[in-house]
């Protein structure tokens, strides 16, 4: 049985909103996701890939529109020699009115509509591709039918973890099993040399740490030779920055720019936490940050006061007692920290900026 050239991807989440980002950046990110899909299609074209396996969450069902589906179909139409196999996930759930069912997909696209295992036969590859749409219940899939495909290479495409899908070990040990393409994990996961999840090709939020891309290579009953290829348009960075020693917002901004200089600030997204005694006007700091694609700035939860010194200085007075009372209060830490700051601002500075 010959090798099959594949590209494996999942969790593109086309059209999804980006939590924590403003609409203007979100809009650009959604364009980024579409460009990434185009890039994947381009890779398939260049590599003359046999199979493009998409293991779920191709788009966000609540937010998908026909123009978006047109775009996706156009990308698939560009690679007529590549068989595109899609197993819908829980975000692109394959309900009766889903675009998966009704849309006139090009001939090279196959979608597993049902939540139980079915297969398609690819004669020129001597391969049978098994797959299913996502189901809420764990397990319950008839994996035994894979044993009926003796003489052909078996490929599986599905959304979920091996535990969710309850893939028996006997199936994983089948000699004609070429590859199990899974999805649902936003980070690249390797369960076994033949069972992988590529992670989302584009990072979705600031919790995404690792690189993002697709799995590309060849599969066969002998082994899967896949490499992880980064295709992400942008990266997310989270930074902590000490502002002690800064006299003004401009200096803080400069310190930030110095910190991100080497991280392609014009392309990437940054979340910066300012630490230190002083409290800064974040909007003023933002004004000095030209040339950065996106940066959000948060201040540490400190009060900006030297609490210990003030406690000593005002030990006999209301200020010292106030600090002690707040420190002893039973309430969420963030509330206590803000209460401390507001109280000290009211007593010492004579003004409070509560937002």
């Amino acid at each position: 049985m010959g090798r099959i050239k594949v590209v494996h991807t999942a969790d593109l989440h086309l059209g999804a909103p980006c939590r924590g980002l403003p609409p203007s950046i979100g809009r650009q990110r959604r364009k980024d996701y579409m460009q990434t899909l185009a890039k994947i299609s381009e890779i398939c074209k260049e590599e003359q890939t046999d199979l493009l396996l998409i293991a779920g969450d191709l788009w966000e069902e609540q937010y998908v529109t026909r123009p978006l589906v047109d775009f996706v179909a156009d990308q698939f139409r560009r690679i007529p020699e590549t068989k595109v196999v899609i197993a819908p996930g829980n975000s692109d759930f394959n309900h009766p009115n889903s675009f998966y069912r009704e849309y006139p997909w090009p001939d090279n696209v196959h979608i597993f509509h049902e939540p139980h295992l079915s297969s398609i036969w690819i004669p020129h590859l001597n391969a049978r591709i098994y797959g299913c749409a996502w189901r809420q219940e764990r397990g319950g899939l008839d994996w035994e039918q894979l044993k009926d495909s003796a003489g052909a290479q078996v490929v599986v495409v599905a959304y979920g973890t091996p535990e969710d899908l309850a893939i028996p070990s006997s199936i994983l040990e089948l000699s004609n099993l070429a590859y199990v393409a899974l999805g649902g994990a936003h980070e690249h996961v390797v369960w076994s040399p033949k069972m992988l999840a590529p992670g989302s090709p584009e990072p979705l939020d600031f919790s995404c740490r690792q690189g993002h891309g697709i799995l590309k290579g060849s599969i066969g009953t002998a082994a899967a030779a896949l490499e992880f290829v980064s295709v992400a348009r942008r990266r997310f960075y989270t930074l902590d920055l000490d502002t002690d020693g800064c006299a003004a917002e401009e200096e803080v901004a400069q310190r930030i720019l110095d910190a991100v200089e080497a991280l392609a600030p014009a392309e990437n997204l940054f979340a910066v936490r300012l630490a230190g005694q002083a409290k800064w006007d974040v909007l003023k700091v933002q004004d000095y940050l030209d040339g950065v694609f996106y940066i959000s700035i948060a201040q540490s939860a400190g009060t900006g006061y030297d609490i210990e010194t003030i406690k000593k200085e005002h030990s006999r007075g209301v200020v010292g007692r106030y600090i002690a009372a707040i420190e002893q209060t039973q309430c969420p830490a963030e509330v206590a920290a803000r209460a401390l700051r507001f109280g000290l601002d009211a007593l010492l500075a004579g003004r409070v900026e509560a937002w």
């Binding site: 924590g20 609409p23 529109t65 010194t309 009211a346 010492l348 937002w355």
Partner: protein, 902 residues
Amino acid sequence: MVTVDRLKLYGFGRFQDTEFTLSPGLNVVFGGNEAGKSTVHSFIEAMLFGFWKPNLPHKEPEPGWEKYRPWQGGAYGGELEYTWSGGRVKVVRNFADNTVQVFNAEDGRPIADLPLNSWGEPDFARLHFGCNKLIFRNTISISQLGSATDTAVVLEVRKLLSNLAQSGGSGISAEKGLEILQEAKGQLDFELMKSRTLLEQVKTRLAQARRQTEEAARLETEQYRLARKLSNLEGERRRLKSLAREAESRAAQQKLERLDELRRQRDSLRGLWQELSRASIAPDWHQQWQSLQAEIEKAEELNKILSTAWAEAQERTKQLEEQIEALASYRAFDKDTLIEMSSAWQMQVKGRQLIDELQSQLEALSREIREVTGQLSALPYFRPDTLEQAAALQAQTRVQQVDESHDELTAELDAQESKLSKLATLRWLLLTALPVTAAIAWQVQPMAALLAVPLLGAIIAVQGETKRVNLRCRTLRRELYTLEMEFVNSQRRREQAQRELKGLFSRAGVGSMEELEKKFQTFVELSDRHRDLLREQKYLTEKLESYRQESAEKSRELAEILASVGLDDMAMEEALACFRVNLDKYLDARMFLAQCQEQEEAARLRARQAQEDLAALQARAQEMMAELSVQSPAEVEKLAANYTRSQELQQEIAALEQRIQDMLEGSDEDSLREQAAALPPDAGPASYADIGERLEKLDSEILALQAEKSEGLGQLKGLYSKLPSLAELTEELWQLEARHQDLELSMQALELAQKTILDLAQEMHSQLAPELNVMVSSLVERITGGKYNELQVESDMSINVLAPERGDMVDLSQLSGGTVDQFYFACRVAIADLVTGGDLPLFLDDSFVQYDDRRLRSMLSLLVELGRSRQIILLTCQRRELNELAQLAPGRYRAIDLENMG
């Protein structure tokens, strides 16, 4: 005890390289305005705490930092030495670069292990002085001490204590803090409300966008469904088209068969035509024959008519001749005779009627004349001028009005006579007075004689007037007489006229002018009527006679004529009728005879001509038949019919040709044969009409589906044109929710801060009051020399004092002004000690400016007393304090005169 020992100002405000040494007790720093007293005070504070604003999270210099920068430039800083329980310390500051060094003043070594304050500087002031900048300012640094009035001072005391209770003397007000927090809470509330509103709006928009997106998805699905259905229908259409093509092949075959049949018919007709064409005559020849036959027919008909007419004309002539012969006796008469006879008869008949009418008119007229005559005789005779006469008499009988002038004259006469009477009286008086006057003049007063003159004058005047009046009276009487005579005459004439009028009325038999007028009018009308009737009677009589004469003459003439024609034995009317008839007959016959004879001749000639014409035509017909070699006209017609039939055949042949052409139109025969050949051998019978119908129905369905699809597409376009990005709205919502959550956290924090500060203020209040009580009592006792040794600080910071003279607790405000001042000062000092925990120097900066001499003396005495146990630095601009101290405590204080320093 902490004391400030030495000050050295390198450069600070107006001071440059200036040094002061202070004593541990009372120090008085004197200087006028702008001498630098406050500068010295500020220098001490700045040396201890620097210029940073207290309690800010970041370093921010106070305004004093710039204010006290040396005017001429140069060094900006200084030294301060102080003594505390731990030794003597020297502080060196450079305000320009904000550096501070702390040394042991005895060995000059830096003191290195001092903790740092919030500004990062050695916190020696808090450690050694026991206070921070705020406490320094609010306790041991005292500016204007109290106010002008006692009540104001008492309030100051309460305020002081309240501040201590809340802030421990730091000057930080919990109450103020709570106010600030409350204000912030209000603003945050507003922000929360705005945030809530924004959230709702975005949620609404999001829900709407979601609905629109779902609708768009539904419409898209519908589009795909319609597309599939369309695809199916189009497949069906293709199948039907295929069937239609089959039907077309069959139709082509049928068409070809029909074409062949038509061609056979055409050829058959062509053969027949050729046959007929050989045995036919030309249409123009046939037309000639037909015209000839028509003429022969007409000629025969005409001949018959003319012969009949000629016979009738002969008959008529004969009848007329016989008639004329029978009425020969009427030869002498004509129409005029008839007219005359008729008019004569009419006259006879009408004449009788007319005479009868005239007679009856005359009778009626006579009756009327008699009647009118009777009426007239009943009336009196009236002359034509009777009415005028009566009117004149009536005018004369009108009562004559008394002339107005008579009244006037009478009135004037009365007046003149009255005047005359008065004049007479006056004259009598005057005449009487004259002698009296004379007598008086003679007897008594000669001068009285002078009165005689006017008296005489008056008498003369009166006399003159009297004469005039008399004359006037006579004139008036004459005029009156004339008027009266005229009146009498007119009265007489009136009576006469009345009598005559009465006589007139009597003759007319009336009683009034109106009756007279009516009767007169009646008389005149009747008279006119009578005259008209007589005239008419005469006219009618003459007319009657004339009619009678004429009638008799006419009767005689008529009888003569009737006798001449033998009709005299008949009644007149009947005879006249017969005469009329016979005469008419005779005259008509005579008149028509000539005509009939002429007509007869004409008819004969016409009949002969018609016969000749007919013979000619018949000869021509014979010639034509000879040309065609036929024996009879029927044969000629047959030839002509052949020609017609051949023409018809030609048309039929042409029509068949046309049909063949029409059938071949749009497709040539070869393609038809090809189409026919394409028909499958096993093709079943199919109705082309049926397929066409089905195709039509299918096309309608397809059109309808396309329209539906198009409509759906239009709806989609409309939706997409206004469909907002669901993802962007979601992101906006998430951002707003995060912000709202943040605001809510802040609100919770504000509420916690408020509650905490409130609780603390109450707690501190309850804690400090007893302590303060003790300290203030002790100090007051000392300050007042034991006079007041018990006081009570209440919860509202009011102070009650045990008044020894009364034996009970009284409010502080009830004590004297001086005592209140002492209490205030004692409170300040007690609070300072309470807060700082020790005997710190007191800085009094122009504190007694508003004090009068008496209170000043009292306070200075206190200061001298306190100066025994703590350092006091009194900064003043008033020389009176120096003077007072010079008297109170000579040599027991240190004076520094800033004005007289080098």
